[in-house]
Symmetry: C2
Subunit: 311 residues, 2 copies
Amino acid sequence: MLFAKAEKRVYVNDVAVRDGFQSEPEFVPTEEKIGLINRLSRTGLRKIEVTSFVSPKAIPNLRDAQEVMAGIERVAGVTYVALVPNERGCERALESGVDEINLVMSIGESHNLANMRMTCEQSLEQFRRVMELVRGSEVKVNGTVATAFGCPFDGDQPVYRVLWAVEQYQALGMHSVTLADTTGMAHPRQVAELSAAYMDLFSKLPATLHFHNTRGMGLANVIAGVDGGINSFDASLGGIGGCPFAPGATGNICTEDMVHMLESSGFDTGVDLDRLLAIARDLPQIVGHDVPGNLIRAGKRDELHARPATA
Amino acid sequence: MLFAKAEKRVYVNDVAVRDGFQSEPEFVPTEEKIGLINRLSRTGLRKIEVTSFVSPKAIPNLRDAQEVMAGIERVAGVTYVALVPNERGCERALESGVDEINLVMSIGESHNLANMRMTCEQSLEQFRRVMELVRGSEVKVNGTVATAFGCPFDGDQPVYRVLWAVEQYQALGMHSVTLADTTGMAHPRQVAELSAAYMDLFSKLPATLHFHNTRGMGLANVIAGVDGGINSFDASLGGIGGCPFAPGATGNICTEDMVHMLESSGFDTGVDLDRLLAIARDLPQIVGHDVPGNLIRAGKRDELHARPATA
């Protein structure tokens, strides 16, 4: 039976403020970002990826990383995460008081070269130097294996290469790992197989799955992951962001849609869905356009309609 | 492991020409319908729901039911299905030479009253009279249990009520059954549980699952159904149709997205996905607006991109 091995508790991490706002055509004002993070902090989310300490030239939309970190109200129990591409970013992140640093390497070499301008070997060398900077602090480090379910240039990646990357991360002392479907190539059987292999080898290293809905399979992959024993998932409020390759294609899976599915299916996400939905419904006004999420249009499954008058 | 009990062969039925075009604001010309059915007939779909023999006053968009049936080229191996609301519709359907009649009853009494203007008891009585009309012919009858995963007015329906309806259909001599999530309320655990109960009791009565993507869970529910041993699914080209309750909400799950997910996950749908995608990409021109499907925007997961030039 589906979910026979699944834990009841599933953790939800939101990436909208970083991954979503990063790819918006317009800069989202710092106060809007801070306001959104503060509201999200009170919904029961486990982690919020709040910004990226990249060069303001590379990603102007996140040029306010320090101001955002300085402006938010920290809520106990919420981990505030920042993406960090290099040592300089790590130093800025540490100064800003982040709880967790997220390091990203694509195991598709072509994608890593295109995205990070480094080979995988160079990425791992840099991660080593970042780990040195973090050592002695309370800050946690999460390692993301990007293109874990396929590279848009190199195609499918063998399972052993994903596991090799996880092993490298573990050896570097990282505290947790994210397997990311960077361009929406993951399919449910692949997720089931990779989850099983991961849990066989690394069950003590906390894992998160990060899916995109580019080809409509995002929530199906969450189900495959939960069934495979993974208990932590990234998603993005309203389904914004996620570097879609094609215009009109959706990127990240939608947080409120995922929470609704999981809670309906009897899982405990710890998230107050009504509160999350209210925030999601304000998102189109913040970004100035519609967002891909379904639940903000359709409402929850248990919001019944009045019976129509019949003859 | 996910899919441990699943068969490799999964059957796909398309409902776009009936369910999709029925709810379009504009009448789709008869020749367009015929052309689309003829193209779909050559993709490997198992069934095509081509029209509904309802009153032209009730659904003007399908007033050309006879002309459509008379105009299409029948391809061997494809079952041409028509929805039939009553005896008069059944007579017209039989005259038109359909392969299969689809009868629908909502097990949510309020929904059945609103949709069919009958109690469930009256619906079953009418089904009995329709079965009499069909007796002696080669025509098959499929019984749809609508609102099987919840009624928008009455809420969740107990599993035993779904199974009661299936038992009634079986006793009436129907050849197959569809469990339909009429308004997108199904969630994966419910699908797993209902599929298991169905297969325990009715494994010899062929079953189809019909999901909507109203709340984003459509393809996740397909995965739960396949995992539960069900091997036949309805979907709609481009994801059109499906009576969404809220404006902007999607209805039926998208055929090409579903086929892509299933084929990626190693299932054999018998469908030529490239051919299906080509037809789906022509659909916006036929209906005059964008359609919800993802794959027509993003392309298949194995359509790789050229490596970018890197320094």
